[in-house]
């Protein structure tokens, strides 16, 4: 699997709209050229869940996942570093990082993790 070294969003060079994940054409103006941008730092938690019936490849009791919004209107799913959803609330600020999210085919796969700051 291709290793991705950072969280990358895609800004349309024609109209400026941000996209994540990648699209071959801009969702607004249909432009085909994009600049890669790397949203980093804090984000706002929009929603979250804890799932207790996990798919293959996850050897743990539960997994907390959330959608957070970065500056520039980039929204993405990530794993949330919390012991329970009781520590979370919609609208709270989370710190993002790029860390191993699962182990697959003998190697770590990296992705977004969110850590509550409040």
């Amino acid at each position: 699997m291709k290793t991705v070294s950072a969280f990358i969003a895609y800004q349309c060079k024609r109209c400026g709209r941000m996209h994540y994940p990648f699209h071959d054409r801009c969702m607004d103006c249909k432009g085909r050229e994009f600049e890669e941008v790397k949203p980093q730092g804090n984000a706002k938690l929009l929603t979250y869940t804890a799932i207790f019936s996990l798919p293959c490849g996850f050897d743990q009791r539960f997994l907390i996942l959330g959608v957070a919004e970065f500056e520039g209107n980039v929204k993405a799913l990530g794993q949330v570093k919390a012991d329970s959803v009781d520590q979370l609330k919609v609208g709270m600020i989370v710190k993002s990082s790029w860390e191993p999210i699962r182990f697959q085919s003998g190697e770590d796969v990296y992705g977004l993790k969110f850590e509550p700051l409040e």
């Binding site: 996209h19 994940p21 293959c56 996942l65 990530g78």
Partner: protein, 396 residues
Amino acid sequence: MRDVAIIGAGMIPFGRRDEDTLMDMLACASLNALDDAGLGDQLVDAVYVANVGGGMLQRQTAIASSLADRLSLLPAAAETIENGPASGASAVKNGLLAIASGYYDTALVVGGEKMHEVDSHHATDFVSAMTHPQAEYLYGITMPGLGGLFARLYMEKYGVTREHLHAVTLKNHAMGALNPYANFKKPLNDKDIFDGPQALVNNPILADPLRLYDLCPISDGAAALVLSTVDIAKKSGRPYVVIAGFGQATDTHTLAERADPTELKAVSLSARKAFAMANLKPSDIHVAELHDAFTILEIAESERIGFFNEGEGGDAVSSGKTRLGGQIPINVSGGLKARGHPMGATGVAQIVDIVWQLRHELPENRQVKNAEIGLTINFGGFANNVLCFILRRVEA
């Protein structure tokens, strides 16, 4: 375009069917529909088979070719349709367009899935494979997980409560208990799953805030329809059903990328297109089968279609407006929640149930009185590919 009729409908009971192969189920449902259509030994022009997991779960592809052979329907045209959980409605759409165009006169449409081929972890993984490979799947998200993310948003925005979700569960299980084709044939009560001492054990959180009984089960099953021209339908001498309206719309692959995920744009758009084609409005519908893979979806869809105003769907369920005998009976079959959700079968099964309603063939405790117009919503991915059908009864 020609009008298209539904002249045959058949199903097999949903649930765990270890004794049957996928092909057994598809063949049995097909024969039920062909017999119902009164086609006898006649052939059909085309066969459309909705199935999602054949390649992944049964290691079998080209299922439509196999079914045409098994049913001795050769040399009928045959295609397998894969469109995630909306595969069933997509297969019906293919039959509709083929006959409406004038190219074919008859088509067999059948959907089926055998999900108990693998254990629940592998089944969960199989269903999750429809999520975005990099932006969703890798993180471990499941379809119930997406349901949990959506439910929290919807509940916070519109004040939907756990009691509202619970009302959907109780209603659909009560109706499933009356349906011989349902996966769950057991009615539930408050003490089982909501406020009794064993409620947390019987009904644990699986995808917060959704609990076990907010989710549809993993099911095996199949359902089938025979579509034809209206001229053929008239020859049957009995009431039949026509497809009065159809609409389909897509939305972003990932839930996160939508400006407001609670909007369910593809549901609203597909319904709007179907209503426009049928020249009808939401208040004209007498009975509906909605895609309640999770209880929150029945409430949200009922608003997005226009049965209720935004934020009023929860109270509508709790006050009985969506029960049999209510303002707009929803999921009288038990829905995905109780009838079950064998993915490829669901969109076809919803239409089978509406056909039975519109032909007034169901027992009194399941029949919507004088039902003449019905609606279905079949929901692919997490609302990223949605099909709506509006069906109308025609007297012989």
